[in-house]
Symmetry: D2
Subunit: 359 residues, 4 copies
């Protein structure tokens, strides 16, 4: 199940310590100029080693585009791509061959498949998400022609949080700090927390908020293709994601209908619209023209720089001590991944809706 | 997109005030005795009018099974079924034809499709979920042969909540009270709250917790078919669902790795296992043999028994006042729906995993 | 695998002697007026007992539409439908419970599923195709708005054949004779052959030719969604179909490129077009604007009105003698089924192409 | 639509003159040793320049496996692979930029997508089938563990033909001659015909017969996943394929039921079996344990080494003369492609059937 989407589809492959990761983008509309700097910028955003907050591994992550593009424009044919794994130290991982790292996928992969590539998590490594950022970059190229924009930002680290649901942040500030939080003051607090956690050899979780603007009314296919369901599946397929909500989400579940309901009224142009947006831009599974906003909860990184008790594959008790280059907090680097998944979901639904609308 | 699943698939159809709702279950394994009393019991659990807490509509909801069963046993052929809509008062809804009810799907359906069946919400009515309960009942019949059980219960109504994440409740008590909460004392408080909200013409949201036991290791297909992603899509396709998390979910996102990680150890039989279950039974997207637990957040019911301002389809301002039979709280009746969706996800993944395991 | 299609999808259920057959049409564009007389006419064309050439069973085949239509127009929601099985004589089939009819699906169903509904072939009965005609009728309703027409006719019975590939027949004559052959003289010969075969208690095979006109350029999704591949899958899913070709097909495979190639030139309006149509309207898997024509080969009906040796389910040798009402030739009644499958394929590809074209 | 299959899936990408072709194999069972020599041998069978009968292009076609394999064994994770396009002479194709080659996909791609990679056919080039041979090789590795073998051979070139339906050929002889025909005498005649056609600057069509042995009873998913339908879709997705039939196919459609029916009897071990195999190993869409045999019709290669009239993209009349390295007959090189597609279909159905059998 390494393919995602219905009309716009991404298929990914690759382990962290194999020769390369990569994928195939299928269903990309033809005639779209390929924005290579933007693509490479998305890679850079996901890359390790951007700041002291993230792992120091220096991966080049140069995307090679192998097909589906002709003279700088998409052709409608599938876009194959690979990124070589240049920074491999497979021997570093030999000690993990017969050991289950706590809260990693080592045990479940071993049991499900009967064997596993133990080096750096193999297929379960977050390096796989690199391919999603490539797919998301192409989706963004198409969506931007329709005025649809996708933003995400770190909205919580540990207990330091922005307003739990969409407040009025200046999203242009997101990229001005290493945690990718649009509130500079809160960002500093988050940074400080991450540094402190890192110094203790520990890790910390948090949430990312996504915001989608410029959507037309009508995306989403009831009943099982509800837009919220598609976004949920996309987000929950990201490594370490443990929760998703949109609109007022879990907070709204504590409230009354009289507070939550979005009354209809008329906008300045006299068009029907909702006067509030507690629904988060989706009603009955279909976009209503308002901003979609959602949250994704990430558990703390499982790799700690301190000893943890565990067992070996043959059932002996042992201790696992990671060392070296690991993120104390996945949030900053997960921001572009959340955006990428959202972009692919929205483009897919855009195409599906376009197929039948005003037939 | 009215089909759900890969190998075990449910396709549903039907509006609340058309002749019938129903569906087709495809991929049901052959040779499973059909437990009709259980099936009808699941219908009864979802049915309106079970208690003073839920709407008083008396729908018979008698399922007619039309195919795929021979002499009481499934044949492996698709199971078509219908439930007639017996309690229709279409004329009651004439006033809704040209009006957008707040926080309903009226507006988005009208815009997406250019027309809509306005009677009782049409396709967007929660009556559609009846077909899911049929699908879920068959999935449960298959799963029970493998020792897999699916339970759900109301874990929060407004601000009255059980422990936010899986506590040690006696799930046999869930069905002993009308809110379907396994803690009788909390259940009473929830009931009291719902009555009070109802008396005020208002509604209230809440959360349902699902628990899956008896799972083998190995269900879930990385990367996009991660078990958490499949469950998320299933739950977020339910009417009024706005959030999903599993394991320690949003709570865990505030914590440190040293607290969240599940250390591996040996169970009494000497087998490798995790010594805690913060992961909620899923690691790397694959079931690890522990109990899966998850939450679904439901917004408050949008239909209030009090006047709300809104607009008509031609943009005139008006007031909408619902009256009569409506749930003040969707939670109790959503419990069997959550179970049904979970059962279908798990059976589908069970079959997918079975296809390739130990090839 | 009882669902067919990507955006326009038909799911079918039902056995020949269960309560009903039926299905769900999903992805039907909204706003299409439902042509009930046409729908019922398509049912009548497939129905047994239309002439002395076909089985005398008098099935009413009245379609009940259960959803997806509001005030005579499609809503974009799934269209559920059932047709009750009124003419059941299940007891007639008791003798078949423990017997494998030659060249039927009795043996393979029994082995695959461990049990089977033996009455009249159960799920493997051609009665299932009734649901396809419902799906096809709705597809035709949508396609006709775009000027796309689907025709099929009997092109061969035994060795009596029209030109093997698309000749210039007046398709308006197809429905003027019971074999549905557009050449009245050949039709008489076919009729005569079928009567003779029937009198001998035997059956006879043949071919149906399909013709699709009014297509725009651009339908078909290389590489695996080539239009010819989709049509092939559709046709080969029909009971008793054993072969498919399009354009010059098998005949063209005996020829040279210099004879087969379709040279490009200009039409009267000065547009680029092929000057011949050996390709059958599809090049590189994509419609080129010309007429698509294809053939489907049907084996002779397996049920003979003469004794045949066979074995019982427990391995004893016996003799099977069918009696009563059986088609000596499936061709006339298969014509509407071929059209239905073609219509669904074309609408599905029309929608898929529309999703991305001129993005 | 560049993905094929349900549980065993191949996604391909690449144009003939881009940097590389390649793909992703998803759903490969874990624990299968990778037979690299066999894989490379399958590449060699498809490669141009094997004999005087095929094009002289010397493509290395070295497959790079990028993931999904660990220490020589499949891991159950997706297998990414690429093959670099080493023998590119893009400038040779500049003359084709504004010209539609007769019976190629130039026109339809240009119209559908608004642009195209004109070099060597771009995506519509048969070079894409290289990726299918990689997928097929892995499928064969899995199937061989179950005793299932896939063979194909050239059964007709122009009018020189083996018995139209499965005769008793020694399939070990297929690879002993350059046309891949198991009858050495007929092979010589085919060779002679191809040489003569080539000398005249012309091309010739033909048929390939596929044979699948060692199948268990039960593969195939009625009604739309009938095994014959899946094979048809697979074969008709191959470049230049124009027809498909299985069992007695088109020939059987001229016959009577009394001749075509396969009577049931007992084999030497006392098991129920059919005493003949006119059905071609499939009944009711499900394998019956006998050999599956089928034919694929290929049109003559469209590229002739003689001038052909055509038009340019702006509608001017011109003449197209190909020169250099082109196959006069696609059959010999298509044999491994037919095998590859068959292998993938069978493995996919094997897995699907395994999911539910004896649940």
């Amino acid at each position: 199940m390494n393919t995602f989407g219905t009309l716009f589809r991404l298929t990914t492959f690759g382990e962290s310590h194999g020769p390369a990761v990569g994928g195939v983008i299928d269903g990309m509309p033809s005639g779209i100029p390929v924005d290579l700097p933007m693509l490479q910028q998305e890679m850079a955003r996901r890359r390790p080693g951007q700041s002291a907050l993230t792992t120091a591994r220096a991966e080049a992550d140069q995307v090679e585009l192998l097909s589906g593009i002709f003279e700088g424009v998409t052709t409608g044919c599938p876009i194959g791509f690979i990124v070589h794994n240049s920074d491999q130290h497979s021997s570093d991982y030999e000690s993990l061959r017969h050991l289950y790292r706590p809260s990693h996928a080592d045990f479940t992969y071993q049991q499900k498949y009967g064997l596993r590539d133990h080096r750096g998590g193999g297929r379960s490594s977050a390096r796989e998400t690199l391919s999603r950022c490539v797919g998301g970059a192409f989706a963004k190229m198409a969506l931007s022609r329709r005025g649809i924009a996708i933003h995400a930002y770190t909205s919580q680290v540990g207990s330091i949080a922005l307003e739990p649901y969409r407040g009025q942040y200046n999203l242009n500030l997101t990229e001005t700090n290493p945690v990718r939080c649009p509130d500079p003051d809160i960002a500093l607090q988050m940074e400080e927390l991450i540094r402190r956690v890192k110094a203790e050899g520990d890790t910390i979780g948090g949430t990312i908020t996504g915001v989608i603007t410029g959507l037309p009314v009508g995306l989403g296919e009831p009943v099982f293709g509800r837009l919220g369901a598609s976004l949920a599946a996309a987000m929950m397929s990201i490594n370490a994601a443990k929760g998703f909500d949109y609109g007022q989400g879990f907070l709204g579940s504590t409230q009354r209908g009289s507070k939550q309901n979005d009354a209809f009224g008329l906008d300045e142009a006299g068009n029907v619209t909702t006067l509030s947006n507690n629904s988060g831009g989706i009603q009955g599974g279909i976009s209503n023209g308002h901003e979609i906003y959602f949250r994704v909860a990430f558990k703390p990184v499982a790799t700690l720089l301190r000893p943890q008790p565990t067992v070996t594959t043959d059932g002996s008790e042992t201790t696992f001590s990671a060392h070296g280059r690991h993120d104390p907090c996945v949030l900053p680097r997960a921001v572009p991944i959340v955006e990428a998944m959202a972009a692919m979901v929205i483009l897919d639904h855009y195409l599906i809706n376009r197929a039948s609308t005003d037939f």
